[in-house]
């Protein structure tokens, strides 16, 4: 037998392409682009927050993000990563910082931002092995650690003082207040709706009286009320969430389940005993409900894989949040609820799997239907 082909003499084109398995096409999606869209969805609420809470909230936001980026670089250096720049550019650390800032009191001092970044990135993410490996939502780990360790600065709310008003502190004044950790002036200190109602209830004043007294913090749809940086503009957060849904970054399962898990028990409780149970509207528009439903609970890494799993996960978060808010020691419980459900995520993923085509839910091959041959 002789050789059939004579490649040496023929004029074939030899290719240097890497011999890699199919597909040889890609949808063009990337991690950085996904993260960028999430950030874009956060922009309206964030800008509105700057306007409401002034320069100090901007410093807090910027320093939290810088801290996250800094600790990310440090952690990657220590682990000997060769992809430091690429990892920074995927935008996940930046997003963690942003979400953490959104969950903090807008006038929190500088060290809260720095410490928050350290906990979120190093403890919450890098010790697990970096992006994609963490069990708990890094921003929520930091938020809860800060709240438990430093309850006073983490519950120091201020009345919104829009930048357009004359009383709003100027750049220099805000910077000094931010860096020197001066206590919030009494005149500006306020309480969030959830915190105030909890305090009043514990003093024996029921909701019917406390919420309608002159000193009660208002519940404004437009967000001009005391609360976390990202809490105040619930409607803008909601709008950002709709954008994420429209762009296919998230699906409806998690946010709808979180909001339903919170609103349904709230509505039932409120209809039974309005004096002791806040209404569903207050629950949905207060605290981190909207931010949590659309931006925190939907975190890919720490939530279940399947649509059904995500629905169960979301319901759990909503329900636990309501339970903690209503019966727990803290006025707000979303961060705790998220962490608890994060811990359950591997279990949910183990129990809820998609059905493989041609197999039943248990993974056994389907039986051949008799009617199929008829």
């Amino acid at each position: 037998m002789s050789s059939a082909g004579t490649p040496e003499t023929d004029t074939g084109v030899r290719l240097a392409a890497s011999l890699i398995a199919s597909p040889h096409a890609h949808g063009g999606n990337s991690v950085a682009q996904t993260m960028l869209r999430v950030k874009m969805a956060l922009v309206p609420a964030t800008v509105f927050g700057f306007w409401l809470f002034g320069w100090q909230s901007f410093f807090l936001w910027a320093l939290t993000i810088l801290s996250c980026l800094g600790f990310e670089v440090l952690a990657l250096r220590l682990t000997g990563s060769k992809r430091i720049k690429a990892t920074l550019l995927d935008g996940s650390a930046l997003l963690t910082g942003w979400l953490l800032a959104m969950s903090l009191p807008p006038w929190a001092p500088w060290w809260v931002a720095v410490l928050g970044g350290l906990i979120a990135i190093v403890v919450g993410k890098q010790v697990f092995g970096g992006v994609g490996q963490n069990v708990f939502n890094p921003a929520m780990v930091a938020r809860v650690a800060l709240l438990v360790s430093f309850p006073v600065p983490l519950t120091q709310w201020v009345t919104p003082l829009p930048l357009s008003l004359a009383e709003s502190p100027d750049f220099v004044h805000s910077l000094r207040q931010f860096l020197t950790s001066m206590p919030v002036p009494d005149a500006m200190a306020s309480a969030s709706v959830l915190g105030y109602s909890k305090t009043e209830l514990s003093r024996g004043v029921d909701l019917l009286h406390s919420l309608y007294s002159v000193h009660a913090p208002g519940l404004s749809w437009l967000g001009s009320r005391a609360g976390s940086f990202g809490e105040s503009a619930s409607l803008l957060i909601f709008g950002g969430g709709l954008y994420l849904l429209a762009r296919g970054i998230i699906t409806w399962h998690t946010p709808v389940a979180v909001l339903a898990g919170l609103a349904i028990p709230a509505a039932i409780g409120h209809s039974v005993d309005p004096a002791h149970y806040l209404s569903a509207t207050v629950h949905l528009l207060s605290g981190a409900a909207m931010l949590g439903a659309f931006f925190i609970a939907t975190d890919y890494v720490t939530s279940p894989n399947t649509a059904t799993g995500q629905f169960v996960f979301g319901l759990g978060i909503g329900l636990l949040t309501w339970v903690i808010r209503t019966y727990g020691g803290y006025p707000e419980g979303l961060a705790f609820a998220v962490l608890l459900m994060n811990a359950l995520t591997p279990v949910i993923d183990r129990l809820i799997k998609p059905r493989i085509l041609g197999r039943d839910r248990k993974g056994k091959p389907l039986t051949i239907p008799e009617s199929g041959k008829a």
């Binding site: 037998m1 002789s2 050789s3 059939a4 082909g5 490649p7 023929d10 004029t11 074939g12 084109v13 030899r14 290719l15 392409a17 890497s18 011999l19 890699i20 398995a21 199919s22 597909p23 040889h24 096409a25 890609h26 949808g27 999606n29 990337s30 991690v31 682009q33 996904t34 690429a86 995927d90 996940s92 970096g130 992006v131 994609g132 490996q133 699906t251 399962h253 890919y300 890494v301 894989n305 399947t306 649509a307 059904t308 993923d349 799997k353 998609p354 059905r355 493989i356 085509l357 041609g358 197999r359 993974g363 091959p365 389907l366 039986t367 051949i368 239907p369 199929g372 041959k373 008829a374």
Partner: protein, 502 residues
């Protein structure tokens, strides 16, 4: 069923992806016949099953359509000369596979005549018996032209034996860039319908459903016109969604039946054939022509004249490119990736000196822009791969296990059910080469399975040897004992004899 389906749809399992199809303008070009190449190289293995066995000698003159290699075994296909000329070699040539490994081929120098052999044409093909049709299909060397290249006659016979009721004709052509099936349906609808009628006779199916993706309105219209007189054949437009052309997905779409994972389509009463196969059946039965060439798509950014071409099997890709006007000029004409088949499931070819085979539905000359690759990053568990997977698998979980060398874990998650359609890798924002992982794991698992079998065989041999040795030892011992007993008896008699006289 309907309720469950809509429920699953609401819950969001919209499997598959919608890649940019890049089918036009190539699909709208009229079919061109590729000029005769100087030489063809016919691979002996261009179908699923055993390779064909050469029955010609070097130096022998053959006519176009003459049998040059016979089928071997139950699952195989014969091979015919794709043009007239002289056999110049029987030996190894680079196979059209990404490994670049060689395979056996028969090389044939064209005499330029392209003269057909005498053909046996039945007077009325539609009165042939079912078995006769299947036999003629087998003789013609017809295999599944959708890319699977499974010998068609085996499927026809299987269908008849299993008593199927529905023949599904796959005209979905869901791979981007490819348009040969589209073109064939537009130009040869009548012949395809004749082929379908013959396949209906041969399989005994009562109805044929032709599934065509709705991004091919011209093909749907022509086919609908062509089936007008035949109540048993219906054309069903299906949504354009990759991988609609995959057997199991198309069967669900057209018949509502789900093939159990350990069963064949025939077990639920259906058989799937490609439109190109139907056309080849018509050519073989009505005109007596064996399968010696096919319609295929040449496409991609670096192709100078993208379109559909009638190409003889064995034509080298380098000849194909040269005879169709070469590559585009300038940097765009640089081929960054040479793909046989579609971009989603096709394989990369190592160079252009490989021949066109029966399963070649297209050759893509992808330019640098089309072939751009990104570094893969860590999985962020976004779950897009899960939503895209048409089989309901968990690609991210399987790849995580494969990375940790936990092949059994991946296998437990359903690795064997993966059809390698590439949807997961297509949507992955981290650009993880998931299909590569799955191929690797499947290879590893089958290697291990072979090792287990080998181990068992060795063990069996060792046990046999052991028992053989034991038996030999036992026999030796018995023989020794026997000898000893005889000697003792002898001594006893000797002693007795000695005693006696005394």
């Amino acid at each position: 069923m309907g309720l469950m389906k809509s429920f699953e749809r609401i819950l969001g399992h919209n499997w598959g992806v919608h890649p940019a199809d890049h089918k036009r303008p190539a699909a709208d070009q009229p079919v061109r016949k590729l000029p005769l190449p100087p030489r063809v190289h016919l691979m002996l293995q261009q179908h699923v099953g055993a390779a064909a066995r050469p029955i010609v000698l070097v130096g022998q003159k053959v006519k176009k359509g003459e049998l040059i290699a016979a089928a071997q075994g139950n699952i195989s296909a014969p091979l015919h000369a794709s043009t007239s000329g002289t056999i110049t070699a029987i030996g190894e040539i680079t196979a059209p596979h990404s490994s670049g490994l060689p395979g056996m081929a028969i090389s044939l120098d064209s005499d330029g005549e392209d003269a057909w052999i005498e053909m046996d044409v039945p007077a009325n093909p539609f009165t042939l018996s079912p078995a006769d049709i299947a036999e003629r299909v087998a003789q013609a060397g017809i295999v599944g032209l959708g890319g699977a290249t499974f010998p068609s006659s085996v499927k026809l016979n299987l269908g008849r034996r299993s008593g199927i009721d529905t023949l599904i004709v796959n005209g979905s052509e869901c791979e981007p860039y490819l348009s040969c099936d589209d073109r064939l349906m537009r130009d040869k609808a009548g012949d395809i319908v004749s082929g379908i009628r013959l396949m209906l006779i041969s399989t005994g199916a009562k109805v044929a459903k032709v599934g065509i993706e709705d991004n091919k309105p011209e093909a749907i219209a022509t086919m609908q016109k062509a089936v007008a007189g035949f109540a048993e054949i219906v054309v069903v437009p299906v949504p354009a969604r990759y991988p609609m052309g995959s057997d199991r997905q198309l069967i669900i779409e057209l018949s509502g039946r789900e093939v159990p994972s350990d069963a064949r389509a025939a077990d639920v009463g259906v058989i799937v054939h490609n439109v190109g196969t139907a056309y080849a059946v018509q050519q073989a039965i009505c005109l007596g022509r064996p399968l010696i060439g096919r319609l295929m798509t040449l496409n991609g950014g670096a192709a100078a004249t993208p379109g559909n071409y009638e190409v003889l099997f064995g034509t080298l890709i380098s000849d194909l490119i040269a005879l169709t006007g070469g590559q585009r000029s300038g940097t765009q004409g640089e081929i960054a990736k040479l793909v046989m088949g579609g971009p989603m499931m096709g394989s990369i070819l190592p160079h252009t000196l490989v021949p066109v085979v029966k399963g070649t539905s297209g050759i893509l000359l992808l330019d640098a822009r089309e072939a751009a690759e990104s570094d893969s990053e860590a999985c962020i568990r976004c779950g897009r791969c899960i939503k895209a997977c048409p089989m309901g698998l968990l690609p991210l979980e399987m790849s995580a296990r494969i990375r940790n060398d936990d092949m059994d874990g991946a296998s437990n998650l359903g690795l064997a059910d993966c059809i390698a359609c590439g949807c997961c890798a297509y949507v992955c924002p981290s650009h993880i080469p998931l299909v590569q992982y799955f191929y690797h794991a499947k290879g590893d698992l089958s290697e291990r399975q072979r090792a287990v079998l080998r181990g068992e065989a060795t063990k069996k041999l060792a046990q046999q040897r052991q028992s053989r040795l034991e038996r030999a030892a036992r026999e030796r011992a018995e023989a020794a004992a026997l000898r000893k007993a005889q000697r003792a008896a002898q001594q006893a008699t000797d002693a007795a004899k000695e005693k006696e006289p005394a």
